[in-house]
């Protein structure tokens, strides 16, 4: 872990911008950092999607009414909608990162490294994704839900066999947006001890003015986002039968 710490080697003079890129050590550092970024994005992405889906569905069901028990609707409205989603969503991620350090340390034993970063990444993106889920579900035509209800669907069937399924294209593009956002956030978390490409770019580009490495990392991140977006768009198209 934390493989992307700057390799201790004497760098050539700064007149050749690409000099450090010509050493194999740098490429190993880039590769390790890349894996760390992937690790952060995949792990926190999975947690975000699972937790966000649950919260998003609860938000939607609570606002719609008639799906959950009545007393739960009220609790969801206050606790989930107001306290969790609205408040956490308005805290800037950089500040959330700092604020969560003690919690992360308590939860996973350390606040350093890609796995520790996943805690704050997940907490930072879940409220955003949960709102996307809620919106996606709310955009499902009410007539379809009526049709599901009058054929005798249970709440569970209404949610999973109809609402979620009909919202799949929107959910898929919401997941894509969230993963892209996570890639950006992971760079920020990297600076706070998470490692990964963000930290590499920062330590070379900002601390050492090694523009070559910084540009290489930038290119990799841009490519990564493009690939995620491309795959996401394909999946969205695949599940969209409208």
């Amino acid at each position: 872990m934390f493989a992307s710490l700057v390799p201790a080697l004497a760098l050539p003079a700064a007149d050749d911008m690409w000099a450090s890129l010509k050493t194999p050590v740098i490429w190993k550092a880039i590769r390790d950092a890349f894996y760390e970024t992937i690790q952060m994005v995949v792990v926190s992405g999975l947690f975000t999607v699972v937790i966000g889906l649950i919260i998003g569905i609860l938000l939607w069901a609570g606002a719609r009414g008639g799906i959950l028990p009545k007393w739960l609707d009220g609790i969801i409205n206050v606790v989930l909608s107001w306290i969790i989603v609205n408040i956490t969503r308005s805290i800037p991620f950089a500040i959330l990162l700092v604020a969560l350090i003690p919690f992360t340390r308590w939860l996973v034993g350390t606040s350093i490294g890609p796995l520790a970063a996943c805690v704050s990444l997940t907490i930072g993106t879940v409220p955003f994704f949960a709102r996307l889920v809620e919106t996606a579900l709310r955009d499902v035509d009410k007539g379809k839900l009526d049709a599901a209800v009058v054929t005798g669907s249970s709440s569970w069937q209404l949610v999973f066999k109809v609402a979620v399924r009909e919202a799949l294209p929107a959910l898929s593009s919401g997941i894509t947006t969230t993963v892209v956002m996570l890639i950006g956030y992971s760079a920020m978390a990297g600076l706070m001890g998470g490692g990964g490409l963000g930290y590499l770019a920062y330590s070379y580009g900002y601390q050492r003015f090694d523009v070559g490495v910084m540009l290489a990392v930038l290119v990799i991140m841009v490519l990564l986002v493009q690939i995620v977006q491309f795959i996401g768009d394909r999946i969205t198209k695949l599940v969209d039968h409208r």
């Binding site: 009526d146 054929t151 005798g152 066999k161 399924r165 799949l168 039968h241 409208r242």
Partner: protein, 334 residues
Amino acid sequence: MITVSHLSKEFVSAGRNVRALDDVSLSVADAEIHGIVGQSGAGKSTLVRCLTLLETPSSGTVEIGGADVASLSGVQLRQARRTIGLVFQHANLFDARTALDNVAYPLEIAGVKRAERRARAAELLELVGLKGTETAYPAQLSGGQKQRVGIARALAADPKVLLCDEPTSALDPNSTAEILDLIRNVRDRLGLTVLVITHEMSVVKTLCDSVSLLQSGTIVETGSVEKVVAANGQLTRQLVPLPALSLTPLRSGESALDILAVGEAVDRPFVAEASRIVGADVPVLAGSIESLAGGRVSRLRVALPAGADVPAVMAALVAHGAKVTDPFLTEVAA
């Protein structure tokens, strides 16, 4: 058999109370097609939503097949809903499912095995004339085809009752005729009791055995189509309209009479009779003859010259079996 007794529904929104249904009582016999007509906002959709318990009635009872559905909840309610098929104006198909899977949905949630429900769904698609579209998604179907899938889905769980909320309002005349045919066909074959909401009189004319007129949440006229037409009320005027554009205006002093005849009475020489009593030729201002509920109905508007003995003419025509009204008086009253 559908029996609605003293059904009321009040909506409370933003502090305003809207009484959408006010003491509605209605009964539809087995295997009968009953039409509910009324203007926009009359409460037609609310009535259907109360019958399927998409809305909870404020008071009153709804019996479908002998059971009071308004008192049910939970599992029992869901089971009761399976005895009701609902067809929507805009089909409301599930976009993420193929035509076959849409039709199979009610069976899927009822726990019918995959092979069995797919076979039944395929049968139903054939019944509605859509063999070969099993794998098509709703987006690939025309409006009329979507509505057929919607009807097949409504029939999937073998309901006793089919409710249709404006099933043809979004369709062109051709598809409308086809869908109405299909609904009648389905009733004949499966012996369903059908309730059709509509604002198109042509639907009542071509499809319904009986009809009710809903006005501001109250049923103001109801009965078999023949009876309702013979009653010479608002529904009669809407079902047998006079071609409005050709109405010649009255000259001063003239008075107009509307002569309604149903069944054999249509053939009687009302105009000649009126002319005889008045002692002058009585011109016909407008007229129409419709074929309704298996019989004929005619409505004529004639102009009586100034000074004519209007009550005498009316009495003579009534004696011949016509219903006679002064159109301007009734229109003021209506």
